[in-house]
Amino acid sequence: MVHPNLKTLFLGASCCGFVLLQGCAITVNPWERGNLAKPYMAINPAPNTDAWRQHVFTSKEGSQGGYGGAGGGCGCN
């Protein structure tokens, strides 16, 4: 189990680095960001709905986390 995980970690890190480098080269001018500004283009357009779904998933599945942010515990695990 350990080796594939490390590999994934490495891939993830490389990916991050790549994107960061790309980031410097990307130019999307402010007046070109109209589509990005639409509310449903938000990373999390419905935070409450998302919190409710994640609450159910984390209490019924073995995995937790990964989507950023942090909350409190419950006895539901």
Binding site: M1, P30, R33, T49
Partner: protein, 861 residues
């Protein structure tokens, strides 16, 4: 989308896209931690319902939050979550062939297996074999009986009998059976307070709160910092969170009711703690003008008691039938027989490692599709931990705007996980590390779910949303194929939410005078009066919250209009339930002649009811206002024993929480001039509140119900008409209302109907200035006794008899109303009223009324 003025170095924006540009730079979604605070407050309320197949676990979740900007840089957030959950949940699993020998887990009782409190926590020689906990074999004689089939009960033949039993239960690849236990209904509350501070390119967020349920308390705090780079095309976020948890376990006794332990003394069976440290790192990157990428990584270290206190494992130990025989018949100590720790057929509580290192990485792409004006969101998450588990989660959603403010979002999610190292449906040999779990959540399986959410944005910053998602958990849905599906189940979740965003109301901060003019000449009635005011003109919307708290806390019992004695109460209970017998010696446990009869008698000493109502009103025309009021009800009652029965007894604290009945009303203006206003309200109450709250908190069709007054709803459709008159001259205001509740059904599902109600009230008040008024009110209420009765009553206390409800009541109300006529908070109103009982004529025996508090907040626009 609102264009907000933002301090941004834009490169010579020279066209009309300026509005979009500024919006783009300030949008909250672009970076999870947006660059600017909202310029007005917003609030959310949401209800979610989760239900598993086969009448398993059921959860109701209520959520409310508010985000309030303070100054230019600061934003405060407050949220509260209340979950109420209960139902059957898997407790352990075992080989099916063993099942035939088990006494307490017979076929047909899959849903009501309770793990005895005597099941040991630790798997060790000392705790094993010396007794069989009544489980899973009937007793040692099972072996003897088995050996009888071999013709002799002595010596080697007996051993042969053991061997026969063992061999029947050893088979590898045997079908797995799952046992369930009923969990009592419990409620979790979680308030969270947060703040966000916005600097030029940086946002700092802090939050903290606690989560409280009877067997789990958690305190937590989080810090998050995000910084924007690269002309706001890139945002980096880092955060840390700490949770500190206390875990206990309900015992057989305390699980026996909605009897919560006294504050500070939680369930005594377990006293453990755990700490979670959570680190996260995130990157948001604009890739093109239509594409957004987010990468996230979290690491969580969990330490302490990570075991589930309600799960058991079946472990078959490494001991031969002969050794078993030696132990029982010749009383040979176990440690002389084997070096292994575990042996026998038995149940143990599960054990998990005291540490867990969890890693999770997710990536999300949001792609705007110009052709449909839609957005596609795709997310993948990889998770692994040092318990040997890993998982893959794929999620895709399509966000499609439609005309008239509608948005439809279908979504699909697939999840697949491997099993934890120490998971097995049952264990045929002990594990060297001592860790065991048969919790299906640590097994290998896959899950597929699909859902749809529909939302509608109203013009005035109000958004309604409803969604449904169906979920299937199956062993063979695992990536690469899985195995048997002994733990398969399905579930669904449904939710509905309301969002009010004052930023989106548009211009009310400076143009609100006309809009709120009606508040100036049509003062709100006192806070305790419902359905008393209408909206001024077509298109108006009001969102409000109403809180009512009724207390009966003096502990004094009344009969009619007089005081009474405990002896009179005992006599009356015996009169109403002749099966009860009078105790032989006062102050001593009673001794019913028939041992099976129950002579315990108790009475209520304190009752408290809180109602949280959400008030949503809309005026389709000038003369009509439509109103919907869902509500949340929390009730507690303390009981004291008047006559004790050592075998029965019934005292302590009862609680019931959950969604109550839902009111709907059409309010019609029948007369309206400068001085006089008359409206008629035609209302209905839908029976959305439960009338099957049980004593033991278990949702079943046979156990004893809590009393009528502790049920969350009436169980019937009720007609609620009212006629309201209000008047105003100079600084003086006055009004009167007649209202009634008429039950439209003779009996609810439990065979009774609450009494009808008539209420008449009149008030006068004075406006001290433009925003504050005081009122004095008289109220007369007449409520009938309950008709019919439920067969599932405890019939041992005054509250268990339908004749002890209702009466005639006279109250005086003292109220204050404040409303904001102008400025940035224009349109808000706040009311408080205390109702003081002055005279009462109770039906039968009831607890003295203490008074009632009503608080209302409303915002009209």
């Amino acid at each position: 989308m609102v264009a907000q003025e933002v301090v941004v170095v834009a490169t010579k924006p020279k066209n009309t896209l300026l509005a979009l540009t500024t919006a783009a730079l300030s949008l909250p979604g672009l970076t999870a931690q947006a660059a600017v605070p909202a310029d007005k407050a917003s609030a959310n309320a949401q209800y979610g319902h989760y239900q598993e197949s086969d009448n398993r676990m059921e959860v109701d979740v209520f959520h409310a939050d508010a985000i309030v900007p303070v100054g230019e840089h600061l934003e405060l957030t407050y949220s509260i979550d209340q979950d109420t959950y209960g139902g059957a949940t898997p407790s352990f699993s075992g080989p099916q062939s063993l099942r035939a020998l088990w006494v307490k887990w017979p076929i047909g009782l899959e849903h009501s297996f309770a793990i005895p409190s005597s099941v040991p926590d630790v798997i060790s020689t000392a705790s094993v074999i010396s007794h069989l906990w009544g489980l899973p074999l009937r007793s040692f004689t099972d072996f003897t009986n088995a050996s009888n089939t071999t013709g002799s009960t002595e010596g080697r033949n007996l051993e042969a009998g053991y061997a026969a039993v063992f061999n029947r239960t050893v088979q590898n690849g045997d079908k797995i059976n799952q046992a369930f236990q009923q969990m009592p209904t419990e409620t979790r509350n979680m308030p969270v307070l947060g703040l966000k501070y916005y600097l030029d390119n940086m946002t700092v967020g802090l939050s903290g709160g606690f989560s409280d349920e009877p067997d789990f308390q958690s305190n937590f705090g989080n810090i998050n910092i995000s910084r924007e780079f690269n002309n706001k095309l890139t945002t980096l976020t880092g955060g840390y969170g700490l949770s500190s948890n206390h875990i206990s376990r309900n015992t057989d006794h305390s699980a026996h009711a909605n009897h919560e332990p006294a504050p500070g003394s939680e369930y005594p069976a377990l006293d453990a703690t755990s700490q979670f440290h959570n680190f996260n790192l995130g990157l948001n990157q604009v890739l093109t003008k239509n594409t957004l990428l987010q990468l996230n990584g979290t690491y969580t270290l969990q330490e302490g008691y990570l075991t589930n206190p309600y799960k058991a494992v079946y472990v078959r130990g490494e001991i031969t039938p002969y050794e078993y025989y030696q132990h029982f018949v010749n009383a040979q100590p176990l440690n002389e027989l084997t070096k292994l720790e575990v042996m026998g057929f038995d149940l143990f509580r599960e054990v998990r490692p005291g540490q867990r290192n969890q890693w999770a990485f997710s990536s999300q792409i949001n792609q705007y599709i110009p052709k449909f004006d839609a957005a596609l969101h795709a997310n993948y998450r990889y998770y692994f931990d040092d318990w040997g588990m890993d998982s893959h989660t794929f999620e895709v959603s399509w966000h499609q705007p439609l005309p008239a403010g509608f948005m439809v979002t279908p979504s699909v999610r697939y999840y697949s996980q491997s099993q934890a190292d120490f998971f097995a449906p049952y264990f045929l040999a002990p594990r060297a590390d001592g860790n065991y779990s048969s919790d299906f959540r640590l097994s290998a399986y896959g899950a597929l779910s699909g859902g749809i959410t529909v939302s509608k944005q109203f013009a005035k910053g109000v958004k309604l949303e409803a969604g449904f998602e169906y979920y299937t958990h199956q062993g063979n849905l695992k990536l690469g194929g899985g195995t048997d599906g002994y733990a398969d189940y399905n579930s669904y979740m449904a939710h509905a939410g309301l969002k009010v965003d004052l930023s989106a109301v548009g211009g009310s901060s400076d143009g609100g005078h006309n809009l709120h003019k009606h508040h100036m000449h049509s003062a709100h009635p006192p806070a305790g009066v419902m359905f008393g005011h209408t909206l001024a003109q077509a298109g108006d919307v009001m969102v409000g919250y109403r809180y009512m708290n009724t207390e009966q806390g003096t502990g004094v019992m009344r009969n009619g209009s007089h005081g009474t004695t405990n002896r009179a109460i005992i006599n009356d209970v015996i009169r109403l339930n002749p099966a009860k017998k009078l105790g032989l010696v006062a102050g001593q446990p009673c001794h019913p002649e028939n041992k099976d009869s129950d002579c315990s008698i108790s009475r209520q000493t304190n009752m408290s009811m809180e109602m949280h109502m959400l008030d949503f009103m809309y005026a389709p025309t000038d003369w009509l206002s439509l109103m919907v009021m869902p509500q949340l009800v929390n009730m507690t009652m303390d009981m004291t024993t008047l006559q004790a029965d050592p075998d029965h007894g019934h005292a302590g604290k009862h609680v019931s929480n959950g969604i109550g009945d839902t009111y709907m009303a059409a309010l019609v203006k029948v007369f309206d001039n400068d001085m006089h206003h008359v409206n008629v309200s035609i209302g209905m109450s839908a029976p959305s509140g439960s009338i099957e709250k049980t004593m033991d908190g278990v949702d079943s069709n046979s156990t004893t119900l809590q009393d009528y007054g502790m049920q969350l709803g009436s169980g019937t459709w009720d007609f609620k008409p009212s006629l309201t008159y209000t008047g105003q001259a100079g600084s003086w205001i006055w009004g009167a209302q007649a209202s009634a509740v008429k039950r439209l059904q003779d009996a609810n599902k439990q065979g009774y109907a609450l009494g009808d109600v008539f209420q008449g009230t009149a008030w006068g008040g004075y406006n001290f200035n433009r925003w504050l008024s005081a009122s004095l009110r008289g109220v007369y209420t007449s409520q009938g006794a309950i008709r019919g009765s439920t067969s599932r009553s405890a019939v041992s206390a005054p509250v268990d008899f339908s004749g002890n409800y209702g009466g005639q009541f006279w109250d005086v109300g003292f109220g204050l109303n404040a409303m904001v006529p102008e400025g940035s908070l224009a349109g808000h109103s706040l009311g408080v009223e205390w109702l003081q009982p002055v005279a009462n004529q109770y039906n039968g025996y009831q607890l003295e009324r203490d008074g009632a508090l009503s608080v209302t907040w409303g915002y009209a626009f």
